[in-house]
Amino acid sequence: MRRIKSSVEVNSADFLANQARNRELLAEFRLRQDDARHKRADRDLERLKKQKKLTPRERIELLLDPGTPFMEISSLRACEDYDGQVPGAGVVGGIGIVNGREVLVHASDSTVKAGAWYPKSVAKSVRLQEIARENHLPVVHLVDSAGAFLPMQSEIFPGHKMGGHLFYQQCKLSAAGISQVAVVLGHCTAGGAYVPTLCDYSIMVRGTGGVFLGGPPLVKAATGEDVSAEELGGADVQCGISGTADYAVDSEQEGIALARELVGTFKRTIKADVDKRDPEEPFYDPKELYGVIPKDTNTQFDMREVIARIVDGSRFHEYKPDYGTTLICGYAFIHGYKVGIIGNNGVLFSDSAQKATNFMELCNRDRVPLVFLQNITGFMIGKEYEHEGITKHGAKMVMTQSNLDVPKFTVIVNGSYGAGNYAMSGRAYEPRFLFMWPQSKISVMGVEQAAKTLTQIKLASLKKQGKTLTDEEAQAIRDDIAHDYEHKSSAYYSTSEGWDDGIIDPADTRNVLGMAISAALNKDWEQSSHGVLRI
């Protein structure tokens, strides 16, 4: 495979200006992520210390094999909601290595509102379980949650992917042959009691761990019975008397060590058979991506320069390079795994959509996982393009992409607009993982067009009511609309809402994809067989 020849000049004024801007955005991201992970009120940390509890990140560190990476999912979930008071949505999750096995870690964050479930906490937990199911990963639950945040119960309790879905998914994971172990590090009350109980193995810490359908205050109120938490559903009761849990331990450290031992007994999965070779570092430094990505999101750049800084040896075989040139398709290796890459180099035309469809069919037949690199304003519009059938060609791309058997991975590297987001495997198309770069924008159309349209509608309705506006008032309305729209198009809003699995440092893209592909291969797939059409 040939090496991409970069034409980026690392000393040019453009490169340096881009780099300065993108490093600034990266620093902002790092700061926000660091705060979401570690910045807590002293009283919350002291309360944990008094209870002899560890923080969720200390627990995870004890759980994972020393020196192995932890791929955190959605570290900034809920960052634009609840006044920023529920960092990470009160849940820490990701993929790590335990006793040599890739596992999904699902931990309550008891440093945030005593681990209470907000609507976005539940949604994040549901997504983590989905990751476990889609990629056949064993789950370790580190349970320490106060339960549902009552004032918001209507957004947590009964809907399809709300609270109840957590337990439903645990049952489905079990039936799919995916092992689950819980370490109970706090009180699991009511529905929460099912989390450890629906696991294959449940470990409880004496003194702090408790499992009960109704806690002591509820029992007292309902029946008048006076009972301590430990007597009602403590570790010795549930492990020794009821058999609801399996192992009673004296400390969190002991419980987590036991969980490690248990994971070590799980059957190792045989990974899906894909083309592999020895990994090789990219020839071009991934940190050069900061200078490759334009400081203005509306400026075009060559996606090959991005590919060169993600793939092994910067080597890339480009498929059909002279056809449908606004879309780059081709083969490369990432961390030694062969992948098909589809990246935008402009607007999608009929020919680029057809090329993508053809390429996806080839990859699917040959068991080559697909990586989508999104920088897309949408499909080309206008009479000429409608007459040549751009809508049906786009539909082919969406159809084939939706029905791929091979795992797919999406990175939004810059803009993600309109139907382009769909065709390029946006969140709704269930890629195994989807990550975003900090400067990215995501919305149904660009901010300028949207603000113009929305302002016109608003002004028209005001006019109907007989109100006349000065130019300044009209401009102020436009500015408000644009500001709100811009905010809701940002990577932070996206990650807060869970439209992605996290914002990542562009220079980490290669490693994140490598880990994601490796995790995804824990689940093999059925191969549908039909010939590849030259469309």
Binding site: G378, G446, Q449
Partner: protein, 177 residues
């Protein structure tokens, strides 16, 4: 495995066969005869001593070599001389001969945002010539080679259609006249 290499300013075609740790190198059709005799396959062994230090063994005679490789390029110090070696990519080689176009055509309808050059102006490869905007994306068109601007067909603010010729350079052969 047949490869074209560039050593200094000269191009050579070399065939390398692997025999365990050894390579047999065979050079084709030229009369340069310092290391390898024309048509005669010589067995050469390159031994790695450490870092960039190697020794090459030819016909039982060993010579120290320093070799630093960077992508498809290698810098070699041997036999008291410095060599710069490039491995030529066969696909690039074939593409080179197809020649490049003298004009840039619009990939889609759009608007001219900025014109940085005038006809008759000398430009060097990579220099920004124009900025265009289509479907809300701004694209900077840069000089694809050194040359002289022949024509710029749209002014700032003008709209153009797909395949419109935006900028052209004077044909390479005629520039010297």
């Amino acid at each position: 495995m047949k490869r074209e290499i560039k050593l200094g300013d000269a191009f050579y075609t070399v065939t390398a066969h692997r025999h365990g740790d050894d390579y047999t190198a065979h050079r084709h059709g030229d009369d340069y005869t310092t290391i390898i005799n024309d048509g005669e396959a010589l067995r050469a062994r390159l031994e790695h001593i450490g870092d960039e230090d190697y020794q090459v063994v030819i016909n039982g005679q060993s010579t120290p070599v320093k070799l630093i490789s960077h992508g498809e390029q290698a810098f070699i110090h041997a036999f008291g001389r410095n060599f710069e070696l490039d491995v030529i990519d066969p696909v690039d080689r074939a593409a080179e001969q197809s020649g490049s176009s003298n004009a840039v055509k619009a990939p889609m309808p759009g608007i001219m945002i900025e014109v940085n050059v005038k006809p008759g102006q000398q430009v060097s490869a990579g220099e920004p010539l124009l900025s265009i905007e289509s479907m809300k994306i701004m694209t900077v068109i840069k000089a694809w080679r050194d040359g002289v601007i022949d024509s710029v067909n749209y002014a700032e603010g003008d709209a153009f259609d797909k395949n419109a010729v935006l900028v052209a350079m004077v044909e390479e052969e005629s520039e010297g006249e």
